[in-house]
Amino acid sequence: MYIFSRPTLRRRLESTRGVVGSTLVEKIIARASGRARVSPGEIVTCKVDLAMVHDSSGPRRLGPRLRELGAGVWDPSKVVVVTDHYAPAVDVESASIQKLTREWVAENRPGAFYDQQGICHIVLAEGGHLKPGMFCVGGDSHSPTGGAFGCYMAGFGATEMAGVMVTGEIWTRVPETIRVEWTGKLPDGVVAKDMMLFLCRTLGMQNAFRAVEYGGDAVAALPMQERLVLTNMAAELGAETGMIEPDAVTLAAIRDGGGVVEDEAVRKWRSDPDASYEARHLFDAARLTPQVALPNTPANAGPVEAVEGRPIDQAYIGACVGAKLEDLHMAARLLRGRRVASGVRLMVAPASAAATRMAASDGTLATLTEAGAILLPTGCGACAGYGAGVLAEGEVCISSTNRNFRGRMGHMNSQVYLGSPYTVAASAVAGCIADPRPFLAEAA
């Protein structure tokens, strides 16, 4: 049924087995573990440069563990706390979780606290916290997002994050690196989200103990916010982390966020030309088309044509992966001068307060709301079923989020399709799953 077997995409798989060079992730793990070099499969202990936790997996769960251990935070300056999963509070339980988080922050004084300022992965990226070569951990599975800055960042559970808070260290098995290159120019209406849905199907979601390194001229051409999509959804590939070697775009993004970084980081923190990869994959971006993942897994992705016309109840633009300023711009470009179909609701939950602010000042929010979109607060929202916009039994949603596991966005018998912000916006206008390209061509 899916159409990847037709000769539209070029895939080259080659195995190299040199022993001289190191990949970027190996260089970072070597530095963090105090070794000259490391090899895949070695189990090492690394010193953590930055630890991020949020309201769901953070103080609420690690606070009691620190109390039980009678221990404090090893280095509060290296800790970032974010409220996003239960922000804003919608009932007494979520309000209590928020309150507990604020009290923990007041007591432990982490280096940064973002209270309802956006989704953790995006506020970290916006705040200049992440720099090439750093070894970072996060109490959330989408922590690989940070790898777009040329650092190591991976996700861990709450007890393990408690361990980091106490010791400042964590064990890792040095992952194999897979190199994923995209060459050529993405067609209009085809974006990083389509690349990742395609990869979920092509590479599968079972890449534990591997790091994915993205490269190629199509990746180099992506703005920072689109690069975050590639590394964010390394989580869906099941990988330890996703990474992109730093360049001028990376340095500009760090400096825009108030971070300090040397130009030299670009030369220092990249894979050696003779580095050893477990596999290399090469894809032609020019031949990629809009992708949609069917329920109940991102690996059920295929070209939008396969599901065009399927009726929807809701279109959702939200989450770290799918409601950044860049994503809101995509939705607005498609929705300008159009209306959401009757009987369909389009919800937009911007990924950060900064994105909301900028979208308000540049007219994006006006375009969205004039088209009939309902604006929701910034935060994780309905993506994980925690916030506003969840689904009833039997309802169908197309969403710009990153996961569509059964019951994730509400009732266990609701259905979630995943697509790019363009595809979600086009579907909202059509009232059914739709290819965004004709809409964009018509508008142009």
């Binding site: 339980e93 361990g163 106490v166 079972q206 103990f209």
Partner: protein, 168 residues
């Protein structure tokens, strides 16, 4: 925990995800309440019927998805003694050991049927199916994880580290 685990097998397929193990809509609840909904989307009888020492048997990529450790925690609260699967998602794998729930790579998962009587001997690295009278050697658990699981998980391990530092 001395390594002796035994009970009935509960069979699941590939890609059992963290949303079916610990559904998001119940994540605000205390773990004991959340656990009542563990796996209900794929087996509504599981949470009410599973007994102490029972073994969950999965296919590939068991525990894919979120970092929420309520996923292995729910299994542990319900009394599950071990998870055997062809492969695991990395965060679930780590979380399981951190909470003292053994997770064993078990490529022969298809040879176990629902309801089979299973024994797991961690120290000997052996799984026995008493129903089919087959014994399997399992891939050894890395030493640092075996130490942790025998200690009861990461918290007891951290306590011993801190006790050493404070004693020094």
């Amino acid at each position: 925990m001395t390594g002796g685990i035994g009970g009935r097998a509960w069979k699941f397929g590939d890609n059992v995800d963290t949303d079916v193990l610990s559904p998001g809509i119940y994540m605000k609840l205390p773990p004991e309440e959340l656990a009542k909904h563990c796996l209900e989307a794929v087996d509504p009888a599981f949470a009410a019927s599973v007994r102490l020492g029972d073994v969950v048997v999965g296919g590939e990529n068991f525990g894919m998805g979120s970092s929420r450790e309520q996923a292995p925690q729910a299994l542990k609260i319900l009394g599950v003694g071990a998870v055997l699967a062809k492969s695991f998602a990395r965060i679930f794998y780590r979380n399981a050991f951190n909470l003292g729930l053994p997770a064993l790579f078990f490529p022969q998962a298809d040879e176990i049927s629902a309801g089979d009587r299973i024994e797991v001997d961690l120290a000997a690295g052996q799984v026995r199916n008493l129903t089919t009278r087959k014994a399997y050697a399992v891939e050894p658990i890395p030493q640092h994880l075996l130490d942790m699981i025998l200690a009861g998980g990461l918290m007891p391990h951290l306590k011993s580290i801190l006790a050493r530092e404070r004693g020094a």
